[in-house]
């Protein structure tokens, strides 16, 4: 059973020579007949298939198209050509703590964030204690988020995120969170997901983590797949590309 099928996906960004964002600029641009723009292919003919239960790594330099691909998988962006099929429910973590409100308490934020990730209040209430235990923030549950340190906020976000039980998880640079001990906790949690048979797409610059977690990986460069297959080989190619 395939979890994700990506078929010849391309995404083009148009970068206008002069960016038009106001009515005034549209009118001026129309009168001067300014329509020239540069094209940038963030992704070009990307195809791959993931089986259910696979942990798949995506690596590449900054600007290689990793995040664009994740956004397309999460249905936040639409591809210009090609198609993406995702079976089952997807939890996308393209940034932790999306929608967190600094004015609200940690408790309210956990419920808000859960509902953004698509789980109901009943389920969230069941997981509530587990979330705060994992984040190690039990004594701060009534504190407003604006009084949290950024590390605490991220821990709370990650703890909420990992307690959402969906079939497929898209993880974009989630390990850039917390200290070493907390990072280890995160990796353990991701390993737990693997054992439960969840499909995981993992984007990271932490090559050691990619090596430990993923059976297969893909290397992107300028929006194209440079290599795809066994993680060890893909990482070697990436290192060759960098040097």
């Amino acid at each position: 059973m395939n979890a994700i099928i990506v078929d010849k996906v391309s995404k083009r960004f148009r970068i206008p020579a002069k960016k038009k964002t106001t009515m005034f600029q549209y009118v001026v641009g129309f009168m001067k007949r300014q329509y020239n723009y540069e094209e940038l292919w963030a992704l070009k003919d990307v195809s791959f298939v993931l089986k259910r239960g696979e942990t798949f790594g995506i690596i590449g330099k900054n600007g290689s198209g990793k995040t664009t691909l994740m956004k397309i998988l999460a249905k936040v962006m639409y591809p210009d050509t090609g198609s993406v099929t995702v079976n089952g429910k997807v939890a996308a973590f393209l940034g932790l703590g999306v929608g967190f409100q600094p004015e609200l308490s940690a408790r309210d934020n956990v419920y808000l964030y859960s509902s953004i990730l698509g789980i109901g209040r009943r389920v969230a209430r069941e997981k509530y204690d587990a979330i705060f235990d994992f984040a190690e923030l039990k004594q701060f549950e009534n504190v407003r988020l604006k009084n949290f340190s950024s590390g605490m906020t991220m821990r709370l976000a990650f703890a909420t995120a990992v307690h959402v039980e969906l079939d497929t998880m898209l993880l974009d640079e989630v390990l850039a969170v917390g200290d070493e001990a907390f990072q280890k906790k995160c990796i353990d949690k991701i390993n737990e997901f693997r054992e439960q048979g969840k499909t995981i797409v993992f984007v990271s610059h932490n090559l050691q983590a990619v090596r430990n977690l993923c059976q297969r990986s893909m290397l992107l460069h300028n929006g194209r797949i440079v290599s795809l297959g066994d993680t060890e080989g893909v990482i070697k190619e990436y290192q060759a590309l960098r040097s």
């Binding site: 960004f13 964002t21 106001t22 009515m23 005034f24 549209y26 956004k71 999460a74 249905k75 936040v76 962006m77 639409y78 997807v90 996308a92 393209l94 940034g95 999306v98 929608g99 409100q101 004015e103 609200l104 419920y111 808000l112 509902s115 953004i116 990730l117 698509g118 109901g120 209040r121």
Partner: protein, 250 residues
């Protein structure tokens, strides 16, 4: 949208909390500012329209009905751009952001109107029984605002000076509605067009129901429903078309 009802409720609550918690007087201001505006306008215009019956309370009802439109469409306009993280980093139907903003506007407005009822009692004596219909009229008003909100929020992603243009448009519309002047001063040749404005109809309906004790006419309701249908169709269509590139443009 039904499966996202919890998210809609949560976002609406967050919106309301932000609106009222951030300042000390909170909800008091919500009512005080239209009241002060009404008092100023009353002092200015009371000699001009002295013959008009219940001028003060009509002014107040008109301002309240107007505020529902102007404040909520303004809030909807920014609802996509100001919540950019929810657009670019997670998949939720984007209409939810507009809907929850409109919903919190509806709730605020309901409270404003509830406070209005004792004031009518003080100024007029017994309140007409038709006042019971007023929540229904609010529910008729809401989809019109939501439809316009969808249209504005989607356009604002592309055209960023819309937040300058819309208040000017609102200012014009304010004077095209019978809020600060009675309907009787509108020239007859212009009346047919004037009455095509759904906000004019709504303001008249509110006054009929809350002050005069008269049921709204079929014609009033028909104009409002017609414009509501148009706003919803156009709003949904434009939003659906423009939505695909939101994440790139925000």
């Amino acid at each position: 949208m039904w499966q996202y009802r919890e998210l809609i409720i949560n976002l609406t609550i967050v919106d309301l909390k932000k609106r009222y918690e951030s300042n000390i007087l909170g909800f008091v201001w919500q009512f005080l500012s239209p009241l002060l505006l009404a008092i100023v306008l009353y002092i200015v215009f009371k000699n001009l329209f002295a013959q008009e019956e219940f001028f003060a309370i009509k002014l107040l009802v008109g301002i309240m009905a107007w505020r529902f439109f102007s404040i909520t469409t303004g809030a909807c306009l920014a609802s996509i751009v100001s919540k950019s993280a929810l657009v670019t980093r997670v998949f939720i139907p984007r209409k939810i952001l507009v809907f929850s903003t409109a919903l919190s506007g509806l709730i605020s407005s309901l409270f404003e109107f509830i406070i209005l009822i004792p004031m009518i009692f003080v100024l007029l004596g017994p309140v007409p029984a038709t006042i019971a219909l007023y929540p229904l009229i609010h529910l008729l008003y809401f989809p019109l605002i939501y439809g316009i909100g969808l249209l504005l929020s989607a356009l604002y992603v592309y055209v960023r000076d819309l937040n300058q243009i819309w208040p000017v448009f609102l200012q014009m519309l304010f004077f095209l509605c019978p809020i600060i002047y009675p309907l009787s001063i509108v020239p007859p040749w212009y009346m047919t067009y004037y009455m095509l404005n759904p906000l004019t109809r709504l303001i008249l309906i509110y006054r009929d129901v809350m002050i005069v004790g008269k049921l709204p006419s079929i014609e009033d309701i028909a104009v409002v429903i017609g414009f509501t249908a148009l706003a919803l169709l156009l709003g949904n269509y434009v939003f659906g078309k423009l939505e695909r590139r939101f994440a790139e443009l925000i």
